[in-house]
Symmetry: C2
Subunit: 319 residues, 2 copies
């Protein structure tokens, strides 16, 4: 790796979103260091960058303080993009220790290392899950914040610690609350689940919940574009943005799009019932995008377009 | 200890607020188990209850999972009052690991044990610090929540996990956001600090900040009365109340009251300057008490009366 004065660090850099972010940051000329414990991240996601002299990958558990500290000592980071997390919300419902370790404590260790080595800029991947199952159009600074999943709790806990670090450590932090993100390299989520099930049984699809869950979907490359846009517009101290498309797609509409894209016919939909897919799932949400819109950003694709683009990519790759 | 069917657990039960709560719960006929690591709690605070057959004390670090689990196994708790925390906000600014361990992770371990042993009712000591340095009259469900101390961050992180536990574990939780609490057995805070300094040097008092910090003060026995009131009025799932008096006292006014109560004259006040006592201190806050007022509760004492009562108790004890 060449030694430009400052590198950027991506935690979870071999993951779904982290690896796309690495691609974009490399394309923009940055020197990029990725760390990932490869629990959800995959070597395939970063293989194409391994020969790039401006790219380095370290397999690493962030909670191994000695090894993580050594990474900070080795590189003089200007910015940390903290994306490492247990993104599998359902698994956290079964074992809250997963989100504690992988989502919250990785944040704590990251801000601790940043303080120790004087790294002043943090970009944090938060989530609409911090809002819980709240009515209305949720804005960045409005309440309440009663997460219903341990994933959402760990993201909110992370936000709280980042906020305190801005005051106590002079950190500049950008918190972006992501909606559902879809596209190539995803490791779970409804689209991933549906394709997998339909390949196994093309005649029937079990949809968790009653099919009426209504959520915004953001295409991963649009998200990365938005992350880099917001980063260039954030001020000192703490900045928080909701990020996503204005519309939403019903889960049964997504199923229809996937069935059509796969060229299947007469697929019978079965529903597990209830208004949500699982305990901790927020069945409907809608948040205000006025703040990031006011700066001039919106995603290139609507939720429905994101679903269409993502399924084509999936199938192109998987067939 | 007699063995009534159900005991209540107080974590931090030898501490300032926890020990007063134990007194009240015993007086009301409950069987009370206190755990405390005695890092801030003191044996003196509970000594008077040690001969009570309905009282038990265990010196314990909640993060010792094996020992904590054994306590849950031994007693069949109906309710946990989780008060254990690092209540020394300033120390957390120097070492955020203290609040992580003592304030947040104790909450995580508590909800984990409650789930394991089917304990369904939690009362949690939260703090106005979750609101950070926000303008306006802060209501329970309004935003934002950008804590500026690691203490506030750890309390907000705890709230987030409790919220997720209500959804995922069927917990019934009462979250009470305390203001500054004063009275006998306090181990720190401005009153404690001022008395200590004036005993050392009765001619001069150094006041951190510019003296204009304006905060509500709640007398500890009024707080305990409020905790038990709110507990009897909370519904299933999650309930959150701000609790405190409607008025506030300036820090330099508190200094004047203390000087007068100590019978001192011509004390010169010096100010360290700036609008706040230390990094992470919220200089002024005012939160809405409409929600708990609507149920018919307010403290017996205003903030100024609380200061007067507390200083008399302090001096009675200390002289």
């Amino acid at each position: 790796m060449t030694n430009p004065k400052k590198h950027v660090l991506i935690t979870g850099g071999a993951g779904f979103i982290g690896s796309h972010l690495a691609d974009s940051l490399l394309a923009a000329g940055n020197a990029v260091v990725c760390v990932d414990d490869l629990s959800l991240g995959r070597p395939d996601n970063i293989r194409h960058n391994l020969k790039n002299s401006r790219f380095a990958f370290h397999k690493l558990d962030i909670l191994n303080r000695k090894k993580y500290t050594a990474i900070f000592r080795k590189y003089r980071f200007k910015t940390v993009f903290h994306l490492a997390a247990n993104s599998d919300i359902q698994s956290g419902g079964q074992n809250p220790g997963i989100d504690l370790q992988k989502t919250f404590l990785t944040t704590f260790e990251t801000i601790t290392c940043m303080k120790k080595f004087g790294v002043k800029e943090l970009v944090f991947a938060s989530s609409s899950a911090v809002y819980g199952d709240a009515p209305g159009r949720l804005a960045e600074d409005s309440g309440p914040r009663w997460p219903i999943s341990f994933y959402g709790a760990a993201k909110l806990a992370s936000e709280a610690y980042i906020s305190a670090a801005c005051e106590n450590h002079g950190l500049k932090a950008l918190i972006l609350r992501f909606p559902n993100v879809i596209g190539e390299r995803a490791t779970h989520g409804a689209m991933y689940d549906f394709v997998r099930k339909l390949k196994k049984n093309p005649r029937e699809l079990l949809i968790l919940g009653d099919g009426n869950q209504l959520k915004p979907y953001l295409y991963v490359k649009d998200l990365v574009n938005g992350i880099l846009f917001a980063r260039n517009r954030s001020g000192p101290g703490l900045t928080c943005f909701n990020i996503g498309p204005a519309d939403a797609v019903r889960i049964k509409r997504m199923a229809e799009i996937i069935v059509a894209a796969m060229g299947l016919k007469n697929v019978r939909f079965r529903f597990s019932g209830g208004d949500r897919g699982w305990t901790g799932d927020v069945p409907k949400f809608s948040y205000s995008l006025a703040k990031i819109r006011a700066l001039g950003w919106k995603p290139a694709r609507s939720s429905e377009q994101a679903v269409l683009t993502a399924i084509k990519e999936y199938l192109g790759k998987w067939e």
